[in-house]
Each structure stands twice: as C-alpha cells, then as structure tokens.
Amino acid sequence: MSSKEDRKILAAERCARSFVWRSVHALGSLDLAILLLLSLAGVCAVATFLESGFSARVARAYVYQAPWFNVWLLLLGLNLTCSAATRWPWERKHAGFVITHAGILVLLAGALLGRAKGFEGSVDLSKGAPPVREVLLDRPRLTVESPATGQLFSTPFDPEVRPPRPDRPRLLPLPGSEVRLVIDGFTRRAHEKAVLTPDPSSTQPGLTLELTGPFGPEPMIVSLALGTFPRIDLGQMAMVEFRDSLGGSAEPRPTFRETQMILAQDPSHPILHNTAGTSSGYRFFVGSRETKAPMEFEILRPDGSGEVYRLSEILGRTLTDPDGTKILAARYWPNLVLRDGQPATEGEQPENPAVLVMLEGAVSDSSAPAQLLLAPGTTPGSVRFQGRSGNENPVLGEIRPGDKFSPGWRGWSARLVAWESSARIESVTEPLPDSDPRPGRPALRARLRHPSGSEGTARWIASGTSAILQTDGAASRIGFGLELQPLPFTVRLDSFEVPRDPGTEEPADFLASVTFAEEKKNLEVPAKLQMNQPATFPPGLWPQITGLSYKFSQAGWDPQNLNRTTLQVLHDPGWMLKWTGSLLVVAGIFSMFYLRDPKSAES
C-alpha cells in the first residue's frame, strides 16, 4: 500500500508526462466537484420555487429538462469518472469511493437511457369502452400543414410554459411559405358553442333560444337550424328540436350527426364537426392501422369492433350499422390541399389522402322526458312551439323574436332571442368564463399573417382538434393536442371499484381489473391493479427486470363516474441501470464510512 506522499508524487509525475492525465486530474478535481454540487443544489432549489409559483411544466422546461441542465449533469458525470480515475491504481481502501462514484454514473446513465427511450403517459379507461391502444403523453404539440405542399409538420409546443397573450404572441413560420402562424391566446378551459349565422346561400331558417333553468341565473343559449342542426339534448333530462311542423310526437331521434375529415397522415386530429347531439365516438383511418395501405379505410366503433374496407368499395356508399348508425364516406382527395380555404386535390397520387365521412346515429334507448318542439309559424318570422314534460299536458303557442314563454318544464322559462330565415349553425370554440363551472379543454387562439401584413380571422383551437385558418390566398390546417404514443398492445377496463372508509365517503383503495391484448400473438392477459400495486405487460420477471415492460399504475379517478379510471403508464428501459446504480451508491457510502480501517480514514 502506497502512502499519501507516494501517491502525490505519482500523480505529479504522470501529469508532467501526459496531457491526458493532466486533463483527468483537472476534470476530476475535488474543487470542481464541490462547485458542481453547490450549483446543482442551488439550481434545484430555485426550480422548486418556479414549480410552486408557476407549474411543474414550467420548472421542467426551464430547468430539469433544459439542455444546459443535462450538460451540467454530464459534467458532473465526467467529474465523477475522472475523480475515480485520479485514484488509479486503486487499492482496497478505494473500494467504497469507487463503488459510490460508479453507482452515481450508472444511475445517471439509466436516467439518460430512460429519458431517451422511455416515456411516461396516462390512459383514461372506461368500463365497456373499446380497448385503448395509445397513451397520452404530457407533451403538447402543434401540427401545422404547409400551405404550399400540404405536408404536415409537428413541433412540441407548450402554451403553459409561456402562455401566449395578445401583447406577447408566439410567431411560427409555416414551412414552405411566407405566411406565419400567430398564436396570441391560451385558455385552460374552452368549449364548443353553436352559433347562429345568417347565410344567404342556405334555404333553411334558424333560431336562437334562451332557456333559464331553476338551478341558476345563467341562461342557456341554444341555436338550431332546420335540417342541418335541428336538435340539441340538454343533458339526460330534456331536448329541444326544430322541425318542419309540430304534428305528431317526436320521431326516433338521431342522437348524433357529425362530419369528420380524416387525414391519413394525422389520424389523431380529425377535423370534427358535430352538428347535432354528442360526439359519436367513431374513429376512422385512411390507410388501416395495420397495413397503412393508402387505399384502405378502417372503421373503429365505440364498442371496439371495426373492420377494414377497400376505399373504392365504400366510397359514396352508405353503411348502416346494426344499431342504425349510418356511415357515409362522402368524398376522397388523394392529395389534399386547400384552395381558397376549400379542400381540393392536387394530382391523383395518394400523397396526402383524406376522406370526408358523414355519420348519423339513431340510438333509441333513452327517451328524454321533457321536450320542446319548435316549427316555423303561420306568419314569416313567427315560431310555433309545443312543450311537454313527463305526463303533463303539453303547452302550445306561437311566439315572435323577443317573446318570453314557458316551455312547459317545471321551473324553466324561455325566450326567443333571434330568428333568421336563411341561416346555418357554426360551431365555434370559445373560452369559458371563470364563473362557468363546466369542465372544458385547453385551447389556443391562432390566426395566419400574410407577409403583406393582412391577417386572417383568429380562431380558438381546442386541444385534440384542428382547424383551418386562412389569410390572403393561403390556408393551413393547424392541430393542437397532447402527443399520442402508440402501444404495441391494447388495454381495456373490465371493472373498477372504490371501497370506502367505514362511515365516510373517503376512498380506502382503488381496485381495477384490466385485460391486455396483443392481436398479432392472439394473446389476452387479464390483470388486476390497485393503489400501490401496478400491473405490468408483458407479464413475467424478465421484462420487468430489464424495464422492457409497460407498467400501469392507478393515478386518478372521477368521483362522479365510477366506471372510469385514469392509469399512469410507464415504459422505462433505463430501469435496471437505475436500480443497480442505487444499490451501488448505498453500498459504496456504507463501505466508505464504516468498512474502513479507522486509522486510514483520511485519504
């Protein structure tokens, strides 16, 4: 064993001899180590205040996941490596020191690997809903379409980190054009609203009603247009319908009517236009998910069933599902571009295939007990109405714009706000006011700016949707939403239970049964998970040890809807390295402090 003095001489000799050793000793110096540790501690401390003052995403964007922070960690890694090297040749007394430093290096390597190859996301599962095959990552993205080529470009875009405001807009160039995208607004809660718009080209009348319920002073605004947007359901308990005449009782009603523009290149952001009722839950894919062949068309129903058609077979034909839903693949564009804001095709090569699907559902199970029927009146501009609630006698009458009337529902009053003899209904995304307790989706306000300075109309784009923006001679589709990560298998929820503490509503646990399925291998694996006891797929020790499995843990629940649960999904190939590193660090510190000859404690 060499003495301290011998080591000093050895180190000085090799430093004089070789540049490499000189750098190793410089990079591995204790002073550098202390400076790095101090600065890391300071930066982390500041970051927690950033998180407290703003949000976790802000802290992440500016510190924890910022490039300079990674450089800092790499520098620390380099310092650790070099400082271990400066002790070369290692002796028994160095064991603890070397093990600890190696452990930290392994840990950091595991973290880097996990960052690069792994992901962390969440899935919302509902009982009876179709199996889920993709995970929502907490990484908002913006998808923009080049006005020139129609090509799609996607970029990470987090409005929460530096919320865009009118006085602080974010400008993004649209690839291949001079036009710029201006984002100047962000809201955490936005909703879809139907707005009555005069339209001379329309032959159908439209109206706007104001309904005031017994629950609050805020009235509900309802806009309807004959033919295209004739009815609306107000929750489970009531519906309003605008029809040609009042005669007879309500027909078997369509519960939804919507159009979807499906883009082969960006199936997760269809352009949805919901003209009646709630969302259908149907999804479509141009190019099936399996083969991606552009001439195929896949239908995925809300119950998880579905099939793949040849596009040529199905185009222009109406399919009727057993439950009465009508699906029409109405139009096809092999290479979709936007000309004057209208979809058109440029050539017949399937470069950017898109299909317009129209669908109408006629599910007839639940019947609303309260209804208000409206029809054009005897004189132009007047409206006849018939209101009915439960078994009570219907209320009949004729009204003109501005008139108040009773819809025949207990505690409700109504007013005809507007009438248009030719109108259409436009669906508009709007931020919810703070006083409105309804849940909403985050949304961005965006518009296009032409180099000439002219600007298009600004529109709100809700998370998970896209919208077409226009300005002088240019149009582009802009999508906004969280990044979706496909899974190599599917997962569905079979049951979900929330036992409570005795005598209270406080949850004591969350128990979920799920089924993982891998179609290709024809594999179905049921699994149970509860709080603190995640389920993993594929099962087995090996995938778990190596971190190649996907881990599902209980993350959130909805007290109002016990058929639904939110699971956190983690895939972390760096797992094994992290664990090994941790073990080495603890073992190393222990042996450094307690397994050493106390006399040589100083080194």
Binding site: L30, D31, A33, I34, L37, L38, L40, A41, C44, A45, A47, T48, F49, E51, S52, S55, A56, A59, R60, Y64, A111, G114, E120, R188, D434, P437, P499, R500, D501, P502, G503, T504, E506, P507, A508, D509, F510, M531, N532, P534, K551, F552, S553, A555, Q568, V569, L570, D572, W575, K578, W579, S582, V585, V586, I589, F590, F593
Partner: protein
Amino acid sequence: MIRSFFLLLLLGATGIARADVTLAENDSAYDSLAIQHRGRIKPFFGFTQEMTASLTGRTTLTIPGLGRLGSRQFILSLWQHPAGWEEAPVILVDNAALRKEIGLEGKDRFHSFARLSALPRLNQLAAEADAARASGSTATVPPLAAAAQTVRMRLGIFSSLRSGEAFRMLPPPAGSPPGVAWAPAPFQSAESLRSLQTRGEFSPAKLRAESWYFNFHPFRWAWVAWLISGLCLLVAGKATSGLGRRLGWLLALTGFFLLAGGFAVRVWLAGRPPVTNMYESILWVALGTSLFALFFSFRYRSPSYLLAAAPVVILALIASDLQPAVLDPAMNPLVPVLRSNFWLTVHVLTVTLSYGAFALATALGHFLVVGAMRKNTALSNEDPGVMHLYRSLQIGVLLLATGVILGGVWANYSWGRFWDWDPKETWSLVALLSYLVLLHGRLAGWFTGYGLALGSIAGFLTILMAWYGVNFVLGKGLHSYGFGSGGRSYVAAFALAEVAFILFALFRRPQKGLPSI
C-alpha cells in the same frame, strides 16, 4: 384551588347551572366507549380530545366564570346539556386579520357559535375559498378565505356536537355489511351505551389501550425526562463520572424508552406505520436524535452527544405536545396511496431518521461554534467535538442518500417512475447535495472544524425546507397528502435566527490556531 375543586365536584354531581351553561359530570367511564369518527372507530376520550382541539386549538379550554375544563367534560356537557353553549366563547378565531375583516373587535380569540354564525362576511369569505378550491389546483386560496373556511369548519363541528349528530356510537344492526356508518346515539349513561356496543369491528381492549394512551401522555413524560437529564449533565460538567452524570444517562435512557414505547403503542393502535403527518414525523425525528445520541455517547463514552440532543428532543416534543391544531395527534385513516406500503414505510422512516441525525449534528455544531468563539481558538479536524459532529453527519448522509433512493424505489413501484423532480424529492436532493458539499469541502481543505460546524447548521436549514417548507410553504407536488398550514412564523423565525447566528459566527470567527475557518 381546593375550593374550586370542591365546587367542580359539586357541580359535576348535581349539574347546577353556572354562567348560562350546565356542566356534565366529568365521568371517565365514557373514555373507552367506541365511537365512529373520521373513518375510524376510536375511544370516546380520544374523540373528545380531537374535537376539543379542532374547536379551540388546545385539548383543554378555559371559559370565563367556569375556569379550566378538560376535553371529556367539555364534550360531555355539550352533548348532555346543549342549551346555552351557543353563547359560550369556545370557538377559536386565531387569525387577527380575519377577526377584523368579519367585524370582531378586540383581541379575544375565542367567540361563541351564536356570534360567529351571525357574521355574513365569514360565510362569504368561506364561500370564496370553496370556489377557489373548486376551480382547480392552480388557483391559490387567499389566506383570509382559508382561515374563514377553518372557522366555518369549527362551526360545523360545534353544531354536530350540540345536535348530537357527531356521537356516532350505535353500531349498525347485526348482519350489516362491513363499512356501514354507525348511528348517532342520544345521551345515555356509559353503562347503557356499553351494553349496546356488542357488535362492530373493534376490540374493547384496544379501545381501552387507546384511551389510556391519550390519558397517559408518554411523550410529555419523555421530554420531562430529557429536560432533567440535560440539567443533570450540565451540572455534572466535565466530571467523567459521578452521580450527576449517571443520573443524566439514566434519565436520557428513560426518556428514550418512553418515546419508543409510546411510539410502538401508537403504531399498534393505529395499525399502520407512523409516516403520515408532521406530528408523527416530529416524534420520529426526536426518536432518531435520541437514539443516535445514546448510541454514540455509549460507543465513544462522551456525554456531549446527550447534551446536544437534549434541546432538540425537548423542543420537538414540546411543540408536538402543545400545538394539537397544527400538529394533529389524531390517528386518522391514510389516503390510499400511503396504505399497506412496505417501500413507503422504509423510505419515509429512513429519510426522517436522517433528519434526526442531522438535528443532532446541528445541535453539536452550535455547541462547537459557541465554544470556539468563546475560546477564540479554531477547531482542528481531530478535535473530539468535531469528530462527534463528523460521525453524526456521516450517519445522516448515509441514511438520507439511502432514503432518497428508496423514495425512488417506492415511486417507481407505486407511481411508476423513479424520479420526477417533485418538490419533496428535489428538496431532499438539495439537502443531500448540501451535505455532500460539506463532506467534500472538508476533504478538499476548504475549511476545518469551525466551517464544518457552521455548515452543519446551514445544512439543517435545507432539511427544514425539505421537511417543513415543501409541505407548508411551497404546497405543491405529489406529496400533497402531507400538506398543512400553521407554525410558519415560528419556523421562519427559527430559520432567520440560524442565519443570523451563522453570519455572526463568520464575523467573529476564531483568530487563534488554524488560519482557515
């Protein structure tokens, strides 16, 4: 004193009206009766303590004209003779700004139910807090509104006591499924209630033990033992043997066993590890500090560890004894993520144990710095006091590093990811890095004993932030089940005093001996 005692006896026996309210008999026969409260079946005595602490901030209260009342008699009186209590000033409104805002003049902190219920501004503020909370996690509740919400909660508790609704003492009929709520019982004698409590998922022996635990106050006796131990050791001074020193050892050991025993009973009663709130973590830190002090002082035959540990243990235990409203001693059920979780238990206990070691180090640091300043002599690394300090830091670093990593293990197991830069995680990392700087700085020769002592005092401030600050100041992140409020001014005053002490010690650093600090 004796007169009032007789008066109380007389009052208790006959229930004579006094100052508008009637007092019930202070009958300990009720103590071990079962009552369902906050998701648990507990002894009646524990219930009265919790309820009294919720209403008044203390477990005893003083009513003008009636004198001091224990929790049992107070709650029994409310139940048995509710008339008149709505006029008694028993509800705590401790926020002076709130008192002014809602129109309560004067410095009185206690007000009556009738008076508080008649203040429209109070309800308005509380409703604002509700709205702020409902609108999402990003909105922060204004402090005044939060304080109003607390007072409104106290009003709710008071009316549930006065109406009898809170006394859920009738077990559900035989054959009911588990988890069914118990029914409120009208006031009856302890015997007749006991005869009704023949069913239900509870053990009478355990209830008696819990009632005894709340009556006995093992932690109060523990700090008394440590206080006398510290005094004995101080008096004994540098004498290596003798009565004072032996007595000091013995009392410290007694204090430790009281603490450990009380803790063990608590774990047994609650049926879960003590890892959930500030109260339990303060007890555990005190336990850790006394354990390490005893171990080191036996191992290295030096009483200075005990002397250093005494103030830490005494302060911690007095705080937990006197502030039931902030440091809640109730054994409430855990949120699901904390239940039946081996890794969590190990992780939290390891981390908090390291806090105990660091608390010992910071106390030793104070002794060393003050001593060096008085003698105006620098401390070498070989000074026995510095060696004591270094040993405490070592065990702290080992435990903290292990605990932080175990936290990763738990997070990976329970939430799915190893490390997420959650504020609690990050601050324990900051604390660990600070102590690593301290150990490495000593190796690099940046400072010697004096600097190490000052560093261990500064390091404890990062521990304080990780321990208290994240939950009570930052109030964000996944460790949200540990959030609370209160005591902020005390902790801030402590931190400021420590910073001032460090600055002063740097300014007055010893001039003799080694050149560096």
